[in-house]
Amino acid sequence: MNALEISQLKKVYKGQVEALKGIDLTVVEGDFFALLGPNGAGKSTTIGILTALVNKTSGQVKVFGHDLDSELELAKAHIGLVPQEFNFNQFETVQQIVVNQAGYYGVERKVAIERSETYLKQTDLWEKRNTPARNLSGGMKRRLMIARAMMHQPKLLILDEPTAGVDIEIRRSMWKFLQEINQSGVTIILTTHYLEEAESLCRNIAIIDQGLIIENTSMKALLGKLSVETFILDLAKDVDELSLVCAKSHLLDPHTLQVEINKGDSLNHVFAELSNLGINVLSMRNKSNRLEELFVNLVEQGKQQESA
């Protein structure tokens, strides 16, 4: 079954700003789906329409088969939203926020209080349950929004940049938590600026730009489009000039070498050539996130087509 079906979705804001130009998108049940795009591409508008925070101009949206126009409440009941900005009452306590939210979805207060223990413990907020939300750190507030979204046990969890401004340690623990949620059968749609996050977590991906879906495929297929990988090598000694024969390379500084390797090629000949030159390599890392390169390329292609 499809968790989400979007067809010909359009949104024109006042002032004739065309945020969505007729997008089609399908997310299957159980998927961990990435929706990526540059700022102003239409991601938040799409999520806003799915969650009834933005009125669509035209098109059809179905959540687990329930049409947003004719079965809005049933569609909403399946969705849990973690928005980009903190949108809880800063003066309420952590437990009040999650328990009240469950109540809006028809979860009885007694059940909601019991359930809050589960989700607040899973998000490491149980000890803070009586703390007013304004006193939480940024990372805690993010986790609170995830716990709140899970309180009615939705079948579709939508996360709009859930780890923005969260330190790496907490981000990793949130990834683990999200993976557990997905493994329990919850379909997840994720938007993020951390492309590494999408690459690590998501199985399928759509890239939206200027109100249009410019790519919609599996993460594996998208990454398969990469023809070149870029590595950064930290050299043991400083060199003034170095150009490898076996691969495209250039010195970033006297002890840092950037090497581009065709996909599928071995790195052994790079190390062999450096060894022959008497240069030892101390460490090596990817220059940048692989998905980031693809993302930038796709968006650039889109801009070029637009201007042509």
């Binding site: 806003g48 925070l53 409440e73 909403k76 949108n87 009040q96 009240n100 109540g103 979805y105 028809g106």
Partner: protein, 257 residues
């Protein structure tokens, strides 16, 4: 969503609203008690003695139902206008908008929150009044129905105000420039019969006259206006404001893009 879930959602909104005004009780419950105590001391005990009787009752006795109603109107209105606007401002109204809660449940949730605060403040002011007046009850049901209908009406007014408000100033304009003059000229401190003929006619256009007088009738058994007219106006305005508030929120005015 089944009907039982609507009930749970309504309970949750009301619980949240009550929790809000009880959490800030120093701002919500104490000021009306102090203000009304001063009214009773100054206008009731000190000046009231020189005023003499109004409609056959001591001035403080005549004024008491009006002061309770004044508190009810102000608190019902300000509770909903400030709470709903804060929810818009902090964006936690989105918690409700994304949930499968029908618009009428959202409206009633906020209105009931306002009504409960108004009733609680009304009870506090009544308790204060006991120090100055021997309260008599002429018709209990008139008191209760007028109190509840008035609180509902002004809570709905506060909600509509908050829907249109874009800044905190916008939620104080109506109470300051419209509500206060209407309330003070609404027969709280005087009988309509004390006004010159022309102003008696003008006062008929003030809806608060009907609420204050109907409420006063419940205590004293005397009123400047016909009770049936008062109830008709109260019920009619409540229906109009409820329909307006529901329509505005359903359309997403001020809360949805």
């Amino acid at each position: 969503m089944i009907k039982a879930n609507y009930w749970i959602a309504l309970q949750s909104i009301v619980y949240k609203e009550c929790n809000r005004f009880l959490r800030i009780w120093v701002q919500t419950l104490v000021p009306p008690a102090i203000t009304m105590t001063l009214y009773f001391v100054v206008f009731g005990s000190l000046i009231g003695r020189r005023v003499g009787e109004v409609n056959g009752f001591e001035y403080v006795e005549f004024m008491m139902p009006g002061l309770i109603m004044l508190s009810v109107i102000n608190n019902a209105y300000s509770n909903v206008s400030s709470s709903f606007f804060s929810a818009k401002f902090q964006r936690n109204i989105e918690e409700l908008l994304v949930a499968p809660v029908p618009t009428w449940v959202i409206v009633w949730g906020y209105v009931l929150g306002g009504v409960l605060r108004a009733v609680l403040v009304g009870a506090i002011v009544t308790a204060v009044a006991l120090f100055f007046v021997d309260i008599q009850i002429y018709n209990f049901w008139v008191i209760i129905t007028t109190l509840l209908l008035t609180a509902i009406l002004f809570a709905l007014g506060g909600l509509i105000n908050a829907v249109y408000a874009k800044t905190f100033d916008d939620i104080s304009i109506v109470p300051t420039f419209i509500l206060s003059p209407l309330t003070y000229l609404g027969g709280v401190f005087f009988s309509v019969s004390m006004l010159p003929g022309f102003w008696q006619q003008v006062s008929q256009a003030n809806p608060i006259i009907y609420m204050v007088n109907a409420f006063r009738f419940g205590f004293l058994g005397t009123s400047d206006i016909n009770l049936t007219v008062a109830y008709s106006i109260l019920i009619g305005l409540t229906i109009v404001l409820f329909t307006t508030a529901t329509m505005l929120i359903k359309k997403g005015v001020g809360i949805r893009h």
